[in-house]
Symmetry: none
Subunit: 203 residues, 4 copies
């Protein structure tokens, strides 16, 4: 079989490809990979079913390309944040900002998060993407902290734990709503935990 996936040259063709990725990725995020079929994707992208296979090897390809294109916005919006300067006294504030940013982002694309996280757990390439970006995120945070005078003392581990704490908090706030849980208190406890992690830097 010939590999006849064509990389579009013309502007219109490029736009068409983008449109398919967008439509496909959105549908997959809304309904899940297995509950989305190519006919729907084509329809939503206002193209024919046939054309899909001139731009993409298969349905899976759409997912992966969609993930690469839109994944960062959903999972790692903070990756775009660079060169943050802050006073150590205001570390609290920074954390609060991050948390709020995270939470509001979660809320926006609630189902997308769910569906893609599902695939992180079941699909190798999605997992690969996710963990790679997570690592980038860790490194990005490390650099921010280093550039603000934090010392490189087990920093990777600390940042990883910190991210886990924030993620867990956001998840709780966005989905579960365990009735007996007070999110203000939780947030304060999380912030306190993080400050404890970096106590050597903050004293």
């Amino acid at each position: 079989m010939i590999d006849n996936i064509r990389e579009p040259r013309q502007q219109r063709a490029i736009e068409k490809k983008e449109k398919i990725i967008e439509a496909g990725f959105n549908l997959i995020c809304e309904n899940g990979y297995y509950n989305t079929n190519t006919a729907e994707i084509a329809k939503k992208a206002s193209v024919s079913t046939g054309i899909v296979y001139q731009y993409f090897k298969d349905k899976y390809d759409i997912l992966i390309l969609g993930l690469e294109k839109y994944g960062d916005d959903i999972f790692f919006p903070m990756l775009k944040t660079k060169d943050v300067k802050f006073d150590k006294k205001d570390f609290d504030k920074l954390l609060k900002q991050m948390i709020n940013h995270y939470i509001s982002n979660h809320k926006v694309s609630n189902t997308a998060h769910e569906e893609i996280m599902a695939m992180v757990h079941s699909d190798k390439r999605v997992a690969e993407y996710y963990y790679k970006r997570e690592l980038e995120m860790t490194n990005s945070l490390k650099e921010i902290l280093l550039s603000n005078g934090f010392i490189d003392d087990n920093l990777s581990e600390k940042v990883h734990i910190m991210m886990g704490l924030i993620d867990n908090l956001c998840h709780e706030v966005t989905y579960h709503k365990h009735s007996d849980m007070n999110y203000n208190i939780m947030e304060n406890l999380v912030i306190d935990s993080i400050k404890n992690l970096f106590k050597n830097d903050l004293d």
Copy 2:
């Protein structure tokens, strides 16, 4: 139309039903729900496809029943642990034990974890199961701590964060193997974070 689902009476039939759940749940855990078909399940359970539908409403039913039967062992093995007594001085040790227990359990059923967690993110009933048990787990830990003299000061929130920390650590250890991460250090940081959470109790 008749309600086809029959509860088997004969011993051999009961065993067969169990066998189908086991085979089905295992396959789903290994390969994912959508990549497992009823013919495979039947074959692995050494039964005909027909019998599957006498004991189960549909494929999904097998998943749910399998989850109820084996899920606790995979996700919440500690739920069986009750009446733990410990000296506050040995809180470290207890935490280390828990972490090791968790990690070894993760390692045993690596893919099961992944596949089921995928469904927690995409399927309502699986999510329901998971979060319910998670809550039970939280409550169980709360009681253990209370019975060992910890005070009920935002205990739910603290325990939830603690579980998140442990979970995150285990996950990291079992899957990622972020090359630059030192798990001993991470473990110590996690333990320290937890102790910090309960500093009022441990002073």
Copy 3:
């Protein structure tokens, strides 16, 4: 393959067979042959599915035997009426009685009529049964008329037409309810038509 259909000798066995026929035929009459399965039949007859195949060759067999057993009551209740004596002046009354008898019978087993008539149109043996009884009915009516002084002048044809008229009327009354149709008038027209058929005898 051995033909191991057994004719039951013991009283209990005979009753069981009857029960299966009754249950099966009733279900078929209610829901149609293709919408009735053997499990349902067995359940309704309070027997096991296995036993069914010791008394009957197959599902079809139940239908045929049921038809032979209960069909007459549904389709040809008048077959039991013999030795009717009437005065020619009262022919009207007789016809009215017949019609009412027919109609009330139709109403009792409305769906049975529908379902079995469906099979008259699609199944050879059901058709065979039906037309045979229809012939018997014709002959029976012929004899009644002859024994009351009617002459044998194209009597078969007349009776057949008469039966068609009554049948058609009953059907209309029982099912259609064509809103604009006055059944009293229709009945009178039918009776008048029949009397016209036999005008040579009634003058």
Copy 4:
């Protein structure tokens, strides 16, 4: 999920859809609805099974569309006959024509009649179709009669009875062949009965 049913645009596709209806309806008429499967239909129409479900919701849909397309030719060919003018003296002739028309039509699609009539008795939508057309037929006949000077005196009832008489006759001629029945005589008796129904108009 998407609404899969597509209305074909291309000429060839339209023909293919027609072909499927034709093949499906024919098979159902020959062998019955439950004895016809989609694979056979596809094969007879020289298409793949998949395409069937792009044009039709399900097997049942094929039946209904087939009925709407071909049903009139089979059941109500006379519906096309309009603006009939006749002299009351020739009412006999008209009736004979009708009867012959009916009979020859019955003979052509013998099994179709049987199978579809079976469904009239067991399926709501088929029944709906049938009785609706029957009503149209009645009305059409009424108008013909009215336009030829018949008076509107219980005309609906009379026409309905008349149709029943003709139908019954045709059925007898086409199927039963009750050996002892003389169809010429029967035909004459039927015609005489009809004329008697309309005696007020014909005197």
